[in-house]
């Protein structure tokens, strides 16, 4: 009788992309993200707000709260992603597990910074995440159930790439507006992303999960779709904080 075991990453484990082709595709994806960032700054309300001199304190606090919630909600989905990744590629699963080991408790870094600006852990826990944050977590569930793990991994690549590229600039601005001793958690988070080469680590998983041209096309779409869902969040954040403050002031 034929062995019925499947979905354990057997078979040809050679990646679809050669080492050189993977480097080329990564450069192409980076160019796509760079273009998305330009579009982001042009079209998303208050996209560069944290880089400004006068940071709205409600915007700042709520962004930290949502960031901590996003990490908490997505780590559940990202743990489920490990199961799906392991079915396809044990090599990618090993890389992903290591990446998650480093990221898993990073919500604590943001909660620490919240305490420094007067938001207690109880207050954080009593704050329900925005709908846009829940939608992102829901989108991850959809992807895992119906399209596989590549979209979830694509999100991490997008976030890690953008963090390494833009976070240092934001942290310089926040040191001025919020104070260096109040943003230690965010500095540590950024330090891990850069020094442990998180974009490179996630890309190594991506390379093993791309198994044909259709996956390359899907990856490009995922990057754009994640950006769209994150833009919903930034709109919700600006409406709820800066715009609401302006209304009260009138």
């Amino acid at each position: 009788m034929k062995n019925r075991v499947s979905n354990v990453g057997y078979g040809d484990r050679k990646p679809f992309l050669s080492a050189a082709a993977a480097v080329e595709l990564r450069a192409e994806m980076d160019r796509q993200i760079d273009a998305q960032v330009v579009e982001w700054y042009a079209n998303v309300p208050a996209a560069a707000h944290l880089e400004s001199k006068d940071v709205d304190s409600e915007y700042y606090k709520r962004n930290l709260i949502e960031t901590a919630w996003r990490i908490r909600l997505l780590r559940v989905a990202e743990a489920k992603a490990l199961v799906e990744i392991a079915k396809q590629s044990p090599e990618a699963a090993q890389v992903w597990a290591n990446y998650e080991m480093e990221e898993m408790l990073h919500d604590e870094l943001f909660i620490q910074d919240l305490a420094k600006v007067g938001v207690s852990r109880e207050e954080f826990l009593a704050t329900e995440p925005y709908l846009s944050t829940k939608l992102l977590a829901g989108y991850f569930s959809y992807l895992l159930d119906h399209e596989g793990p590549l979209g979830v991994v694509a999100y991490s690549y997008l976030v890690e790439y953008v963090n390494v590229k833009l976070e240092p600039r934001k942290l310089v601005a926040l040191k001025e507006s919020i104070g260096e001793k109040n943003i230690g958690g965010q500095i540590s988070h950024s330090h891990t992303d850069i020094n442990d080469d998180h974009p490179g680590e996630v890309w190594a998983a991506v390379r093993h999960l791309i198994r044909g041209e259709q996956d390359v096309e899907a990856f490009k779409k995922y990057l754009a779709e994640h950006q769209t869902v994150l833009a919903l969040y930034f709109k919700e954040l600006a409406d709820d904080t800066i715009a609401a403050d302006e209304k009260t002031a009138v």
Binding site: P15, S18, A19, E91, Q94
Partner: protein, 98 residues
């Protein structure tokens, strides 16, 4: 994109990899497994290589790797676990027979 060459002795097989690639990537460049990788996490000792040339090109060894190599009997500083190395420049290694 910079390519560097890993030369594997005794046969002198040369594999070109992009800068910073983990050495485990050589497995995907040929049909033969040239280094016998096992756990790929520095835990099984299957992938010991003797560094013949270009020690710095393989990145720094962390204390856990060095300790494990010592336990395996390779305390001379010339050996590495290939799965823990990244190719930062061209290098030559010899696979150690277990």
């Amino acid at each position: 994109m910079k390519l560097h060459t890993l030369t594997l002795l005794p046969d002198g097989v040369e594999i070109a990899l992009p800068e910073g690639s983990p050495l485990t990537d050589i497995e995907y460049e040929t049909s033969e497994p040239l280094i016998p990788f096992g756990c790929r996490s520095g835990a099984c000792g299957a992938c010991v290589v003797e560094v013949v040339d270009g020690a710095e090109a393989l990145g720094e060894s962390d204390p856990e790797e060095t300790d494990f190599l010592e336990d395996l009997g390779w305390a001379d500083g010339n050996h590495r676990l290939a799965c823990q190395c990244r190719l930062l420049d061209s290098a030559t290694v010899r696979v150690v027979e277990n």
